[in-house]
Symmetry: C2
Subunit: 308 residues, 2 copies
DNA sequence: CTGTTAGCGCATTCAT
DNA sequence: ATGAATGCGCTAACAG
């Protein structure tokens, strides 16, 4: 009987339904500790914005933060697995551990959304984030806006002590691919330098001799910019990622030319919004939400920009 | 008594409230006729997306379209003024007529949201759209990515028969301002050409002799691109607006270099979302929502991009 | 003007 | 299994 009613174009009133249900929807938010990490702070900001907006519809968030080491991650994994909830938002920083965690969590049969980087090869879970390869490809194009036709390009990798899911490698892949696809740009030469987060003092002038462009495939562009500024080296084009305060500082000074924005706030917001739509509204939701590759110059950066 | 309860941190349950109210919220949508106008079609797409999403919360839209002439506009004005509703979404194309209409409509004391262009000098109403001046300023910067250091820049205005609110003039203002603010860019020379929509056959080779860059301050960049392609003129940088199919075609061919996207879908969506938040949720809402200046290159254009 | 009550549409519980 | 009753939190109509 009920089935027949539902067939005939019946739409459940979601307000009445949730009122009658009178239940809270608990989402576990499983992220790296955000203190001192501007990027993750923005993610949280977006998540909190969603939390406030959806509170009235019964959404409650429970946070699980892990420090940037595997021990801390494993400890948090335990807690998350034990915690009873309706949905999970998850940022998989440590690849192998995250794969293992996902495998375990899947048994619970609870919707999972991944943000920032996607480790789910068979696309079982939802993903909100950027296409890392394509963003590198775009960076290649941006590097090709040359003042001279001859260009020496330096790819400068400043990596974290503890290695994590390597989005930046996909970016570099994409970067080279751009130049492979454009064989008319024959005059471009490439070199690479890798240093650790802790070894910033290793920067020296020799590294930049003859260099026209620097591509920093993560958020550390400001480190290169600061060094070049301190040594009064001008005319080097810098391309980086993420609107960290320090990056913006050098963008405004004209030292950094391009930043590709990942919209961390929007990522966080969309992650929660996905779970909300799926669980509360019970709507069909797109499984993958790619964040656009937003090119930020000095001229289109606005601090008070509203997301969503 | 009730007042005291409300004081003490009481939050009304908006679901129960709206269930009890059992009322529809009617929004009047007052726009130019969108047939054959891709930009306005996108606006409608965003509006419709919002309509579907908010339908369950009692939102109903009533459309009022006007053709691109003042007679049709005036006729629609009458209908809109007579129509009884809770909120208004309005695209003010004809400046003077729109000002008059607004003045009249204000008597109704119904929330108004303007999209696309803002004619409300004293900021009484909400606005969703771009900062036209700043977008021109950005276009200036994009023009400055020169292959050579000497540049002859052509500002190519292809205007509509009937003049409307002239967003493109503000863009040109911003464009020149960029070069005024950067006196190190002394080698840039400027010229302007204006033709009417109907006089496209007036394009000729002479117009482009010695030109390195063309700035088209509205969505007609494809007209210039098509002409240059047909005449095998290469190496001219073209900067324009809006992701029309024809613009995208030449972007992908590498004839157009940059397009500034106004995100018409997002504009439409946010316009309705504004009214929804204000009237249904009774939340405080920001009065002005600037759409980011999105720079689109071949490498970061994705057809299936999802907004909001 | 304050206090009470019916009912908005649905899910859950209890009774059939 | 199916049907009827209760209540989710609120608003509007009504009664005192």
């Amino acid at each position: 009987m009920n089935a027949i009613i539902e067939q005939y174009g019946y739409k459940r009133n979601i307000l009445a339904s949730n009122l009658a249900l009178n239940k809270k929807f608990h989402f576990a938010v499983f992220l790296p500790q955000y203190e001192n990490l501007e990027y993750w702070k923005s993610q949280i900001a977006g998540i909190e914005k969603a939390a406030v907006e959806f509170h009235k519809f019964g959404i409650v968030l429970d946070y699980f933060f892990y420090d940037f080491n595997e021990v801390s991650f494993k400890e948090s994994v335990k807690k998350v697995l034990e915690f009873d909830c309706d949905g999970l938002l998850f940022a998989p920083i440590f690849y192998e551990e995250s794969v293992r965690f996902l495998k375990e969590y899947e048994k619970k049969n609870i919707p999972i959304v991944m943000i920032d980087s996607n480790i789910d090869s068979n696309n079982k879970h939802a993903y909100v984030g950027q296409d890392a390869f394509q963003s590198g490809y775009l960076a290649g194009r941006l590097s090709s806006f040359a003042v001279k036709n001859e260009r020496q390009i330096l790819i400068f990798k400043i990596t974290r002590e503890i290695e994590s899911t390597s989005v930046y490698l996909q970016r570099i892949d994409g970067f080279y691919s751009f130049f492979k696809d454009h064989d008319e740009l024959t005059n471009f030469k490439f070199s690479e330098i890798t240093i650790k987060d802790s070894g910033i003092d290793q920067l020296n002038l020799e590294m930049f001799s003859g260099i026209n462009s620097v591509f920093v495939p993560n958020s550390r562009a400001y480190i290169v910019a600061r060094f070049l500024e301190q040594n009064s080296i001008k005319g080097v084009r810098i391309i980086g990622y993420d609107l960290l305060k320090e990056n913006i500082e050098y963008l405004n000074k004209g030292v950094i030319d391009f930043l590709i924005n990942q919209r961390p706030e929007e990522q966080g917001y969309m992650g929660i919004a996905h779970l909300y739509k799926k669980l509360v509204l019970q709507e069909a939701v797109e499984n993958t939400h790619y964040i656009p590759l937003e090119i930020i110059l000095k001229e289109n950066y606005f601090p008070a920009k509203k997301t969503v």
